[in-house]
């Protein structure tokens, strides 16, 4: 979209979207804690409400602080625009909402965060939508699962609870052949480790709660549009290609071209679903993103060392980290995720379910929490927490078997992390 200087990632994570505040000169992005914005006159108000001008009306739709974050994430992902919302789960609904209708389905990876599996297998049925779960390593199965009612393919780049990295170019090629958008959840990789749009993804979703914010302070979500999908190539996406009654018959794609999905996300998605990000939350996430690359480098470095140590330990059955040479996904990770396979992985502990519970309860530095991507190291036993609503078969398919714990490696001194795991494993397997 631009031919300006080709700035590096570290420059963009600090500057993209933000300029000194035009009203005050404030250098850090101010928190615009205001619900509403004054119109210049009646014509200005009418133009804003008709989507003929872009501006601030009401903070459910747009907010100056949130807009800076949106532009920053869009820039880092290489998209044309982004819509932020209240959580990663909200982002998934915001991404699907313009594409789906009653009777439509989405083809999704079996290797997803447990909460996403529940959202897709259960909750979206209330909208008349459905999901078809497939193993993305079986590309014939992915192509075979797509039918005339499919509207999207969905996967995670580095999957949660870990150990798996998706072959995004291969899946994007299948979606493209079927004339469907590929949605990639890039939460666990962040745009520093993976840029799904460059690999063919149409939309990227995030839980900004995780590495982007970084310090475990606020929940948030984001949908980034590549601007590359032709929504008018067939009649499958009427929300974007057909006249919209609520806007005098405006056709989003015809009117806004490559910006259509983002305009729709604001004008219909946030307006009517109301899953808005608040400006204070956006501010925390903006602060976090300023150091994203520095943190991700350390997260990855620590994760590799901890995974290597665990793999050699005889109290451990197996380690799933895709950054290990022993991983079946090592080649794919090296090729598609050359800066590292993230900092999220699982390990199976000898002694099964009981040892996992004891391990989690014996750690001093690792925190037992249902989050990931914090500066702090975190651990959870998915089978008894995040993935407990799933059947044992679903748990295994998702990499969350009963003998498995998930680790989210932080940026602490790595020797301290290893020592903590060492003492807790001794208690857990005594």
């Amino acid at each position: 979209m631009t031919d300006g200087p080709n700035y590096g990632f570290d420059t963009l994570q600090v500057h993209a979207g933000a300029r000194p505040d035009p009203a005050t000169g404030a250098r850090q992005t101010p928190i615009y804690q205001s619900t509403s914005y004054v119109f210049r006159d009646a014509d200005h108000a009418a133009a804003l409400f008709n989507l003929q001008e872009v501006g601030y009306i009401y903070s459910r739709l747009t907010n100056p602080t949130v807009a800076v974050l949106q532009e920053r994430i869009a820039t880092l992902e290489g998209g044309v625009g982004a819509v932020c919302c209240s959580s990663g789960h909200a982002a998934q609904i915001m991404a699907l909402f313009p594409l789906m209708g009653p009777g439509c389905n989405v083809v999704v990876s079996t290797r997803l965060y447990g909460g996403s599996i529940t959202q897709f297998s259960q909750t979206i049925k209330r909208f008349g939508w459905s999901a078809k779960f497939v193993d993305l390593d079986d590309t014939d199965a992915v192509a075979g699962a797509i039918d005339e009612n499919t509207r999207a393919v969905f996967c995670e780049s580095i999957s949660n609870p870990g150990g798996y990295v998706t072959d995004i170019p291969a899946i994007a090629a299948i979606a493209d052949k079927a004339g469907l958008p590929l949605i990639v959840d890039n939460t666990a990789a962040t745009p520093y480790l993976c840029r799904p749009i460059e690999m063919g993804a149409t939309l990227v979703v995030h839980s900004t709660t995780k590495y982007l914010t970084g310090s475990g302070t606020v929940t948030g979500g984001c949908v980034v549009d590549s601007g590359k999908f032709d929504w008018s190539q067939n009649d499958k996406f009427p929300s974007l290609s057909a006249p919209e009654p609520a806007y005098h018959g405006l056709k989003f794609h015809e009117t806004f071209g490559e910006l259509a999905f983002t305009f729709h996300g604001i004008a219909i998605g946030l307006r009517d679903l109301g899953m808005t990000m608040n400006p204070q939350g956006a501010h925390y996430t903006l602060l976090g993103i300023e150091t994203l690359s520095l943190r991700m480098e350390r997260h990855v470095e620590n994760a590799k060392k901890v995974a290597e140590w665990l793999e050699k330990d005889d109290r451990i059955e197996s380690v799933t980290y895709a950054g290990l040479d022993s991983s079946p996904y090592a080649d794919r990770a090296g090729k598609l995720y050359p800066k590292g396979a993230g900092a999220l992985f699982t390990c199976a502990v000898k002694g099964g379910y009981e040892s996992c519970i004891k391990l989690v309860d014996s750690l001093e530095i690792f925190s037992h929490v249902a989050n990931l991507g914090d500066t702090r190291s975190l651990i959870i036993h998915p089978a008894s927490t995040t993935h407990r609503q799933l059947t044992e078969e679903q748990q295994k398919a998702a990499g969350a078997a009963p003998d498995t714990v998930r680790l989210s490696i932080g940026i602490e001194t790595v020797e301290d992390l290893i020592n903590d795991l060492d003492q807790a494993l001794s208690k857990a397997t005594a």
Binding site: R19, N50, Q70, G81, T255, T262
Partner: protein
């Protein structure tokens, strides 16, 4: 017909076109305020351009403080430097021919999103006129001069200046 934005134009070119342009003839403008041809033209007028509406259907009516012209021959003396085409792609060639022969100050022919005609574009470029196809001057103005920033769009602008 619509939308693969394969034509790429540098920000530098788009910015210079939007800065040098003073008077825009909007071909195919509608008097219906919810049609893009109406509110794009109105927007450009609000941003300081002189906008001259052209549409035989509404010839003689008042719009944006100007009389709607029936065709390009009525624009000879209006120092139009940009023609913005809100018509189907098939209608482009005669508009380009007339613009080249009638408008002595013509610098730019702009075709809206979904409008493109390779032969007509080459013809205009050979005559020394800048051609932009399949783009909207309002969206590009909003992007390059900061307004799209309010919607969370990637403007590509990095600046530490006020």
């Amino acid at each position: 017909m619509i939308f693969c934005m394969s034509e790429t134009y540098s920000d530098e070119l788009l910015r210079s076109v939007l800065k040098r342009t003073k008077t825009i003839a909007c071909i195919g403008v509608s008097t219906n305020p919810v049609r893009p041809s109406h509110y794009v033209a109105r927007y450009m007028g609000l941003r300081g351009y002189r906008v001259i509406p052209v549409n035989p259907v509404y010839a003689g009516q008042e719009l944006f403080g100007e009389t709607v012209r029936g065709d390009l021959s009525e624009l000879k003396d209006d120092s139009v430097d940009m023609v913005d085409i809100f018509r189907r792609s098939e209608a482009v060639p005669p508009i380009v021919e007339e613009s080249l022969s009638l408008l002595s100050g013509l610098q730019t022919i702009w075709m809206q999103i979904g409008v493109r005609h390779a032969d007509a574009a080459s013809r205009a470029e050979a005559a020394g006129v800048t051609v932009i196809q399949n783009r909207c001057p309002k969206i590009e103005y909003q992007r390059l001069f900061g307004e799209l920033r309010k919607g969370g769009f990637n403007t590509g602008i990095i600046s530490s200046r006020l």
